[in-house]
């Protein structure tokens, strides 16, 4: 392979370009607006869950920070966007949503210093603790938050003064999808940037990362802040599209479900949160219609199967299918020799 600077530049640029598979994915996502008109509410919830999972993937899959309290950002921004709409402080939903994200990002910045140090276990405990504290504060100040009854009287004005949130969730779904897409584009830029690469490096080896001049802590603070902001946008979206906010935005279940989504979808390749959210919501919906009371049993069952089979193997199947499709397309190109398959960790 000729290794001139130009070919390296071209390679890096090509790698960061949107692949046909990605473009097809997003075309399909937006096509759902017309394909499944009766399913707006669940699809909207899926889009919000996907955005929320994307925000967690950014710290878990790229920077290696595990969190069991990501609902803290979701919930704070959820209440914030509900309260500013209720009291008419910011009436335009898009601006209100951005402000919700900024508030959650501020919380992310402040709490990031607590997750800088320590092992995965301490991070799990600290993040969980923060979300529990916030949930309890919301419960305590029920005169502001509405407590267990939830925040009533939230009136969301039309987007840009033009598009009203309708009963069927049509506009709400489109709004959520556009927000998801914009956030995804931003995250995608981050991941392919030098900053994103430095995150992957310090996830893999923080000792060496600092030995080549990377300010590890500063990078972690930055990405944790961004992640909190994105989670906040997801929380704000939920409040805006339902005109309601209740204490369960802070619930432990919400943070735990989010990890499930990423376990199902996989981390560190951007689409894990999106695909995981779709599968999770679909399973939840499908199983809930079969056995309304015991759907969590089946979710748990699926989870155990996934872990037993091993995600690597599932990814191997996907890779095999992809290769098969490429062959069918007659685009069999010479690949650089890579050791794969047998070298993977087996024996789960």
């Amino acid at each position: 392979m000729p290794s001139s600077a130009d070919s390296v530049s071209a390679y890096l640029a090509r790698r960061a370009r949107w692949s046909p598979l990605e473009i097809a994915f997003w075309i399909f996502v937006f096509a759902t607006i017309w394909l499944f008109p009766g399913k707006y509410l669940i699809m909207k919830d899926t889009a919000i869950l996907a955005l929320f999972a994307l925000s967690l993937d950014l710290i878990l899959g790229y920077a290696g920070i595990i969190s069991l309290g990501h609902a803290a950002f979701f919930g704070l921004a959820g209440y914030f966007s509900g309260l500013i709409a209720k009291y008419g402080i910011i009436n335009e939903p898009v601006i209100a949503l951005i402000c919700s994200g900024l508030v959650a990002a501020a919380l992310g910045f402040i709490t990031s210093f607590l997750v800088l140090r320590g092992s995965d276990l301490t991070r799990i405990m600290v993040t969980l603790g923060i979300s529990l504290i916030l949930g309890e504060i919301a419960n305590r100040y029920s005169n502001i938050t509405g407590g267990a009854d939830g925040l009533q009287g939230v009136d969301i004005k039309p987007i840009f003064g033009l598009f009203r949130f309708d009963l069927y969730g049509h506009n709400g779904y489109i709004y959520s999808l556009i927000v998801l897409f914009i956030c995804f584009v931003i995250v995608r830029r981050i991941v392919y940037s030098p900053f994103g690469l430095s995150l992957r490096s310090l996830k893999g080896n923080p000792l060496r990362a600092s030995a080549i001049g990377i300010p590890v802590n500063r990078r972690l603070v930055a990405i944790y802040t961004v992640s909190g902001g994105l989670a906040g946008i997801a929380g704000g979206l939920l409040t805006q599209t339902t005109a309601f906010c209740s204490l369960d935005v802070f619930s432990f279940d919400r943070s735990a479900d989010l990890l499930l989504v990423l376990i199902i979808g996989g981390t560190g390749y951007l689409y894990g949160g999106l695909i995981g959210a779709v599968i999770y919501k679909f399973l939840q919906d499908w199983i809930a219609t079969l056995t309304p009371q015991y759907w969590q049993f089946w979710i748990g069952f699926v989870l155990v199967v996934i872990v037993l089979v091993g995600r690597e193997r599932v990814e191997g199947w996907i890779a095999a299918v992809r290769e098969f499709i490429v062959r069918l397309g007659g685009r069999l190109v010479e690949r650089p020799a890579t050791v794969g398959g047998g070298a993977g960790p087996d024996g789960h």
Partner: protein, 249 residues
């Protein structure tokens, strides 16, 4: 003026003194070796130099500037980079990404979160230059985790070199490299640019005496001898320390 100087460096771990009164002076462009038997404190000294550990007493000067209180990554920016005795690489990245990362950081692009990595031709030109210098161009798209050990060792040095250090600390660069890959590694070390000062920490006496123009011997956390290779080789105290080991020049 020496490029790197330590003055009365001391490190205690509880009751154990791992290094005491270590005063090294390394001239610009030198090929300086730090040797000593196992447990002599060589790794402690390198950890003190690079900021992994804080000295209990003494100070470290880099190009006349006191860096004793600086963090690891700040020392790198001032021109000191190191390799590790046991590979500390980014296993999920390719050599191309690894070197690109180090160069981006050095050029202050590391916090750039909007542009695609390698979008500036200055960066990619340098990536290629370093990959070729360290004979990694043919494996630049291979994940580091599955590179042969010798190539990983080369990448270990290339990564430190990509920080364009004034002082390069090599911690047992040839450790564990099989004989067939060893020649390539030693050749690249010998071909390091003359303006880069190299401090070599090494067990392998052949490598030390073929490479170094000055040798410091560390024993029990303190400096025993410091001088030209032939003086060190014939020093009776050094011979006593390396009892039974051949020190032929």
């Amino acid at each position: 003026m020496p490029i790197l100087e330590t003055i009365g460096l001391e490190k205690r771990f509880g009751g154990i003194t791992a290094a005491h009164d270590v005063s090294l002076s390394i001239e610009k462009g030198a090929r300086h070796a730090l040797i000593g038997p196992n447990g002599a404190g060589k790794t402690t000294v390198i950890n003190l130099l690079t900021g992994v550990l804080r000295p209990t007493a003494g100070s470290i000067m880099l190009a006349g500037k006191d860096i004793t209180g600086l963090l690891s990554h700040e020392r790198v920016r001032l021109g000191m980079a190191r390799t590790f005795q046991i590979n500390q690489l980014f296993l999920d990245l390719t050599p191309l990404e690894t070197i690109g990362l180090a160069i981006s950081e050095r050029l202050g692009k590391g916090s750039d979160w909007w542009r695609v990595i390698g979008s500036s031709s200055a960066v990619t030109g340098e990536i290629v230059e370093i990959l070729e210098r360290f004979r990694l161009a043919d494996v630049m798209h291979t994940r580091t985790a599955i590179l042969p050990y010798g190539k990983q060792r080369l990448l270990e040095i290339a990564l430190a070199f990509a920080c364009r250090p004034q002082v390069l600390l090599l911690d047992e660069p040839a450790a564990g490299v099989p004989e067939v890959e060893r020649h390539e590694l030693l050749a690249t070390i010998a071909a390091l640019p003359k303006d880069v000062t190299v401090l070599l920490i090494e067990h392998d006496m052949d490598l030390v005496f073929s490479f170094a123009d000055r040798i410091s011997v560390l024993v029990n956390g303190g400096l025993l001898v410091d001088g030209a290779p032939e003086d060190v080789a014939h020093d009776p105290r050094v011979k006593a320390v390396y009892l039974g080991e051949e020190l032929d020049v």
